[in-house]
């Protein structure tokens, strides 16, 4: 059996962390091969080794049966390997054309010659229906279009082996179907495709075979047709996974939080236009939508990180629209931010300082402006106990050394323990393993059960479906629909999310 790509016994360490432990991957030519694993299982690392971004300590790589040495992306390119990264590697201030030819520019008389490139790209765009304007700037085009630019980068370099790293994270369900068609076309032409993903139903839809990684080790390779989603999940996690969440029926109570005709400026046009919603006690309101439709700006505006152009935000009947952030917290708001390392915690502070980040100035923690370290430590230790926050040296650990899951648990614990009755949670389970995800979901449900209101923003449709009592779909800065999770399905959600369908006026 001739394999197109063979990675045998690959071992890669980062300090003491073993990202890949003797992993073997064999991909047949012309097949679509999925690489499945939780966050942190080592899938991205393995493919980065194939693409030349990392070099493995042990193991060998064979392309077309011949042993090769891939030291950098150039070597990978020469072997016909291309990669579409999860976080696009595009230069925002360049045009699409410049981004594609970067690194393989053609020059005449010392200056760049674009002619041949334009010719080839126009042909490629037509052939594969990857419509994008070559002269547009990256910062001005949509995320879906940016992904097409990444694909064109590969095609322009005549890639034979195409690696897609979590390609569907930023696409609407309809766009996902388009991408699947594109991948299947590539496969028919004989190109070899490797898809890194943790979305089981997509694997079922497009992949021929699937290799599962767990905590750096290779668990096995299966034919996708021969296994069920449940079996795949079990391989991925190592135990039986329950897909449903225990959510008792509770009647929603009084209105705790309202947003009234909110408008927020964005890049060029408005990011949020005339948006209104409300959150009641005992309920989780989920905002669904594709990344980049204003969710980030919405949350940043109501929490105070971005200025509000017009509109009103009230919390417990108090107008908090123009309040300084600290006062918002004092009036009962809690916020689990989207980017935990940028906003949620101070990486170079220790754990206990991070746990009192918003209330260090309160009388309990300081006297005459001098911090009461004993009280801070006690409080931190309480939280560590209650929320199972694991760290090397307890409350004095530098947060930078903690894992993502524990960092998020710390943020969650801190936000929940403060005096609040509205919790705004954005992407609370991003990048976490299944255990941490389950834990956080549980705590969110507890919040809702205990009388508080939760505003949940997430890009994971399943999370929204499982947790929310009401779903609002956001598209291009507006709420385009309000759905009942018990009565709707992913397809319908997808239609709303892509703007194809709109609900009755939702002011």
């Amino acid at each position: 059996m001739n394999y197109k790509v063979e990675m045998n016994d690959i071992t890669k360490k980062f300090g003491s962390l073993v990202a890949n432990d003797q992993v073997t991957l064999k991909v047949k030519p012309g097949e679509i091969h999925a690489l499945l694993g939780e966050n942190g299982a080592g899938k991205s690392t393995l493919m980065s080794i194939l693409f030349g971004l990392y070099i493995a300590e042990k193991g060998e790589i064979l392309i077309d049966g011949k042993k090769v040495s891939i030291q950098n992306p150039n070597d990978a390119n020469l072997l016909g390997i291309g990669m579409v990264h999860q976080h696009f590697k595009l230069v925002e201030t360049f045009t699409v054309l410049d981004n594609i030819i970067l690194g393989v520019e053609e020059t005449s008389k010392g200056l760049i010659n674009y002619d041949h490139a334009v010719e080839k790209l126009t042909l490629l765009i037509k052939t594969y229906h990857l419509n994008v304007d070559l002269n547009a700037f990256i910062k001005d085009i949509t995320v879906g279009q940016q992904q097409r630019v990444e694909i064109l980068k590969m095609l322009y370099r005549d890639s034979d082996i195409m690696i897609f790293d979590e390609p569907t994270a930023v696409l609407t369900p309809q766009e996902i179907i388009e991408l699947i068609h594109i991948m299947q076309n590539f496969a028919k032409e004989g190109k070899t495709i490797i898809v890194i993903t943790h979305k089981l139903n997509e694997i079922k839809a497009v992949a021929d075979r699937c290799t599962v990684l767990r905590r750096g080790k290779c668990i096995g390779t299966v034919n996708v047709k021969d296994v069920t989603i449940e079996q795949l999940a079990e391989m991925m996690v190592g135990r039986e996974v329950s897909f449903s969440v225990d959510k008792p029926e509770i009647q929603a109570g009084s209105t705790l939080f309202t947003i009234d005709h909110l408008t927020v400026k964005g890049r060029g046009r408005h990011a949020v236009t005339n948006l209104s919603l409300q959150v009641n006690s005992n309920e989780i309101v989920g905002i669904a939508g594709i990344d980049g439709n204003g969710q980030t700006e919405l949350i940043h505006a109501i929490t105070g990180l971005l200025p509000i152009e017009s509109g009103k935000v009230t919390l417990n009947n108090i107008d908090i629209t123009r309040m300084p952030i600290r006062q918002k917290y004092e009036k009962g708001m809690s916020h689990i931010p989207e980017d935990r390392q940028k906003h949620g915690i101070i990486l170079d502070f220790d754990l206990q300082s991070n746990l009192v980040l918003q209330n260090y100035y309160q009388p309990h923690f300081q006297k005459m402006r001098f911090l009461k370290f004993k009280n801070i430590q006690k409080y931190a230790e309480e939280l560590i106990e209650r929320f199972d926050i694991r760290s090397e040296r307890g409350s004095k650990t530098s947060v930078r050394q903690m894992s993502g899951g524990n960092q998020q648990k710390a943020i969650l614990g801190r936000e929940i323990s403060r005096n609040h009755n509205v919790l705004i949670a954005v992407q609370p389970t991003r990048g976490l393993d299944v255990g941490a995800i389950e834990y956080i979901h549980q705590r969110l449900i507890e919040e809702r059960n205990s009388g508080r209101g939760v505003l949940l923003v997430s890009l994971e449709i399943e999370e929204i479906m499982n947790l929310s009592d009401r779903i609002l779909v956001m598209y291009e800065g507006e709420i385009v629909g309000e759905l009942d999770p018990k009565k709707t399905n992913i397809n319908e959600l997808g239609l709303y999310m892509s703007g194809a369908k709109r609900g009755t006026t939702h002011a």
Binding site: S48, Y54, L90, E92, L102, G103, V104, L111, I112
Partner: protein, 397 residues
Amino acid sequence: MEIIYQLIQSTYLGMTVLLIVALGGLLAERSGVTNIALEGIMIFGAFIGVWGIKIFERYLSRPSILLMIMIVLLILILLITILPEYRYLKKKHSTDKEWKEFKIASVIKVSIAAVVLLISILLTMVVPNIATNPQTILQSKTQMILIMGLTVGGLIGGLFSMIHAYASIYLKANQVISATALNLFAPAFAVFTARILQGGQQISFMSNFMINKVPLLGDIPLIGDIFFKRNYLSFYFSIGLLILLSILIYKSKFGLRLRACGENPHAADSLGINIYRLRFKAVTLSGVLAGIGGVSFVISTSTEFNVTVAGFGFLAIAVLIFGNWSPKGIVLAALFFGFMRTIASSFSIIPFLNRLGAPAEIYNMIPFIATLIILGFFSKNSRAPKALGQVYDQGKR
């Protein structure tokens, strides 16, 4: 009218140096490396360059020796720019396309050197043999010394800046700290060496490098008076540099990759561009320009080098930021600064300002206060390269 011409010419003095050094800073910063060592590099380049001029002056009567020294310098420069590239490509098993580009680049470099050589021959051999006016002979040989001085200054500036480049790029050091080290080292070294070798710390030379009138172009009615009278060679160099760099940064392969490194090095890295090499080259080039700027500063101010460049290195950074990291902005900012300094130093001859009776120091302060005010208005829309100042570590891809 005369006064206006004098003001304009005086503006050039300030503007030229700032323009050259700021353009150098542009190269470095656009590639993502902050370079506040420009002051120190200027001092170092000026020190060695002016010393060179002093030595070269001794050979004014024997122009053939000057020519030989120039040839040696040119060969050295060619070696430094071509050899490492050659060895790198050989080691890397690179593609035919890369070899072809290397050959083209080498040819360009050699031809530039040849042009410079030609000009040198002209100035040292040809003109003295055909000129009748002793002034012309003297001017041509003097300008030759200037060219050589600028070359030496640039060469040394480039070598000196490699220390900062190596530390901040390959050793991942804090760019501010290693730059500060250079700023501290240069004047100390200059004073130290000067005192040991000649007793005092000032290095004086004799020639005056001002070009009174460019032969043909100086006769054009209006433009001639503005651009081609009572000026220095460095001014024309700076204008040429401006044009060259504008093309280089925006239209050449090197420029595209340079900008990519400064905006999103991860993207460039994933496409196989060697971030480290590119940034190293950019910072070295900025050092070359700073060295040339240092020499220009000294020759346009007085006839001695006293271990200072009056803060022009830092002012160049201000010009760079003020000019919003683009050549167009930089030239406007340099013009502005040059003009303000001119007003400060020559307000007494401007009748209108003279009557105001304000003390000299106020005028000296004006360029700086004005910069603050203008920065206050324009800093909101800063277009700094996104990855500026961040250390790039391949391990953290």
